[in-house]
């Protein structure tokens, strides 16, 4: 499968023409193979087409073997993954591994995927090397800190394809080789919906957030959550929501999350707590308060965590990375690679993207890459309706949390009283990507990261 000594640029040229040739060949070969061999797999033939331009001719000669041995002779697509944490972490790396298995299952062609877990950032290079040694054609690196090394190895191995998760370097963005793509599953819309649920049920009018690091990704999630909570609470009571943020400076720290959550509940009287931490610890804490006779609510994060807080679970944000991975599997297998920079939001990677009427809303059901966790029936029905309505509207991007519509028609102000979003405006990619201010309803200043 190696491109041999062809330079990267030449390779890309070849790859492009081969891609076209490959698709044609796939059609022809697939047709023949399908006719003769029934279920035999044609697309791996398109892989052979990548080797050289003349490979097309070889493809046809090889058709015979395929039809004779069916899947036995088909070489599987080899895919390597690099995880920053252990797959048993329940949060981030676990989520990616679930995505890997989902993509493998849904690919429909022979695929062999393998991973390196708990890879420290300085060692990502050697992890990539070992995956390439094992024959990986497509490599996913799933931590922000892996970005630069991924771009470096994409340049070093122009005949392999690289996808980096949660970064900003890709061929599409023009700051990495063409064989590198960037992808992310973005939650801010779902955090806004969590906020609506929080504002609908809070009795104290105070909500809390256990934050991992004060970086833009977490900051925009906090802001979205608090804007949603304010929307619902102000509509209910006429008063502004109060919000508090406690930072734990870690992505995975169950005991720190516990201490931070307890501080929010006992110090500031928060009765709904959202979080960015990879375990259900905050939800477990909320559930413990229920057992003591105090209503404290929390959410799912990355996976469905209802079993950790049967009473305390309001709703939450869930990600299935599988459809993103599957898309790249297909691109590589069919030789139709293009470098992309994707933020998967509500409605992306769903078979039916149109908004549905509220009574048929899919809010709370698995779909696409990011979706809402099941809604607790304790959320008053009029707010369930609004949550579903907004969820459906966001599929078509008709509603944007970071707009005056998301804030009861008022401009969105930061803690210093500066107007950040005026009427008629909505946050764009760069504002979301670089967000370094907290909305006015949050009491603690943003620590310098």
């Amino acid at each position: 499968m190696r491109a041999g000594k062809i330079s990267r640029r030449e390779f890309l040229g070849v790859a492009r023409s081969a891609a076209i040739a490959g698709i044609v060949a796939a059609g022809v070969v697939g047709g023949i193979a399908g006719y003769v061999g029934g279920s035999s797999a044609a697309p791996p033939k398109t892989i052979t087409a990548t080797t050289t331009v003349t490979g097309v001719a070889r493809t046809i000669t090889e058709t015979r073997t395929v039809t004779q041995t069916v899947s036995g002779a088909v070489e599987p697509l080899k895919v390597g993954y690099v995880y920053v944490g252990p797959v048993g972490d329940y949060g981030w790396s676990y989520g990616h591994d679930r995505g890997r298995r989902w993509a493998d299952e849904h690919f429909g062609l022979p695929v062999k995927s393998f991973y390196r877990e708990s890879v420290p950032e300085p060692e990502v290079g050697s992890a990539i090397e070992t995956l390439i040694d094992e024959g990986a054609k497509l490599i996913f690196t799933t931590s922000f800190g892996f970005m630069d090394a991924t771009a470096e190895y994409a340049a070093k191995y122009p005949d392999r394809y690289f996808v980096h998760i949660s970064g900003y370097r890709s061929g599409a963005a023009g700051n990495a080789p063409e064989n590198m793509s960037a992808a992310f599953a973005e939650f801010y819309q779902l955090y806004y919906l969590n906020g609506l649920a929080a504002g609908a049920v809070t009795e104290t009018g105070v909500v809390g957030y256990v934050g991992a690091y004060p970086i833009p990704e977490v900051v925009r999630h906090i802001n979205a959550f608090v804007l949603g909570a304010n929307y619902a609470y102000k509509k209910r009571t006429g008063k502004n929501i109060k919000a508090h943020v406690n930072w734990i400076f870690s992505w995975v720290a169950p005991d720190a999350a516990r201490k931070a959550a307890i501080a929010l509940i006992e110090e500031k009287n928060c009765d709904v707590i959202a979080f960015t931490e990879d375990t259900p610890s905050v939800l477990q804490v909320a559930e413990e308060y229920w057992k003591k006779g105090k209503k404290v609510w929390s959410f799912s994060h990355y996976s469905d965590m209802r079993e950790y807080g049967p009473n305390a679970h309001l709703t939450g944000q869930i990600a299935n990375w599988g459809p993103i991975y599957l898309d790249f599997y297909r691109m590589v297998a069919t030789n139709s690679w293009i470098s992309v920079d994707i933020w998967a939001r509500i409605g992306d990677y769903t078979p039916y993207r149109w908004r549905r009427p509220v009574e048929k809303s899919t809010a709370g059901q698995a779909e696409g890459v990011v979706y809402l966790a099941p809604l607790n029936p304790a959320i008053p029905s009029e707010w369930q309706i609004l949550i579903k309505q907004r969820y459906e509207e966001m599929k078509e991007l008709l509603f944007e949390p970071f707009s005056v519509e998301g804030n009861l028609g008022e401009p969105i102000m930061d803690q210093n009283g500066e107007v950040r979003i005026k009427a008629g405006e909505r946050a764009d990619h760069d504002m979301l990507w670089n967000m370094d201010w907290l909305v006015e309803y949050i009491e603690e200043p943003l620590p310098k990261a």
Partner: protein, 324 residues
């Protein structure tokens, strides 16, 4: 205000108990001259086993298994460091690596499922995948738990009460009884102790096993009594904090109580201060506090005059051999 103190103090005790249990045992090992750097690894094994065995057989069995596993693991150290006279630092750290790796393996989803089904084939499907176990219930001591402020000492789970009893009991045995004297003399001057007819190897071996048992118990407490969610490497350096706490307590079980609650308190306060806006100034400084305290303690005891006064076991870390 009283409510606030109770809220902070109650959680401080819960956090501090992990350190207290771990350092109590370590004090015995170090008093006998053995530095058990395997603490972290034994704790994390204790946590992993308490997780698995609670799901299979319930709390009591889980706690017992964790303690037994801790004793067995420290036996490895005892054989290597006491009988074979290998370097205690290296063998201890090796034990930590072993514990971190093995616990991660045993509690990983696939392996855990196999173990759980082997232990208890009638377990429902939902428990095979879940990463939490039922937490130890709080036991409210009649009358005492109703008192203001100190009442929060008596609204804790059973392992916290075990630590309340163990600390003074271990102090008494160490300083007021004959076996305690033997143990201390072995750590001070093993040759003299040997001459007096004390079996140095056996005493050191037993003391190491005690430290292992307590470390296993500390791990079980961390999981079952504090944050019952399994996470690979969930001790996150707590074993090493307990090690520095042993020094801070100057190898005295009673002072270890104060030290443990001091460290616990710093961790609890850190998240309260943030909510008063202090975190924004320097969150990292707050997060550093427990470690700063540990470093200060280590620096203090490394000064020769201080060493003499506070009584560092003179033969700590030195393997004993009769031939010398």
């Amino acid at each position: 205000m009283i409510e606030w103190i109770e809220s902070v103090l109650g959680l401080t005790i819960q956090v501090g108990t992990v350190y207290l249990l771990a350092s109590l045992g370590e004090i015995y090992a170090e008093r006998s001259g053995v530095l058990n750097l395997g603490l972290e690894g034994i704790m994390v094994m204790g946590a992993a086993l308490s997780f698995i065995f609670t799901l299979a057989y319930g709390h009591l069995a889980a706690i017992l298994i964790s303690v037994i596993a801790g004793i067995l693991m420290s036996l490895i150290l005892a054989v290597m460091a006491v009988y074979m006279r290998l370097n205690q630092t290296v063998t201890g750290l090796a034990l930590t690596m072993l514990g971190l790796g093995l616990s991660g393996f045993l509690a990983s989803p696939e392996v855990r499922k196999v173990i759980l089904l082997a232990l208890n084939p009638s377990l429902p499907e939902s428990l095979l995948a879940i990463q939490e176990a039922p937490k130890l219930p709080e036991i409210h001591v009649p009358l005492l738990s109703g008192l203001p402020i100190i009442g929060c000492f008596f609204r804790q789970n059973v392992l916290v009460y075990v630590s309340y009893i163990a600390a003074p009991l271990m102090w008494f045995i160490l300083f007021k009884t004959r076996p305690g004297l033997s143990l201390r003399s072995v750590g001070e001057n093993p040759a003299a102790a040997d001459a007096m007819g004390i079996d140095v190897f056996r005493v050191r071996c037993l003391a190491t096993m005690i430290s292992g048992g307590f470390a296993g118990l500390a791990g079980a407490y961390l999981f079952l009594g504090f944050q019952p969610f399994w996470q690979e490497g969930l001790t996150a350096g707590k074993g090493f904090i307990a090690l520095s706490l042993v020094i801070l307590s100057t190898w005295n079980p009673l002072r270890a109580i104060l030290g443990a609650y001091l460290f616990g308190g710093v961790e609890v306060i850190q998240y309260r201060l943030q909510l008063f806006g202090l975190g924004a100034l320097s969150p990292y400084l707050l997060a550093m506090l427990p470690y700063l305290a540990a470093i200060a303690a280590l620096v203090a005891v490394s000064i020769e005059s201080v060493r003499k006064r506070i009584g560092v076991p003179a033969s700590l870390g030195i393997p004993y051999s009769r031939e010398e």
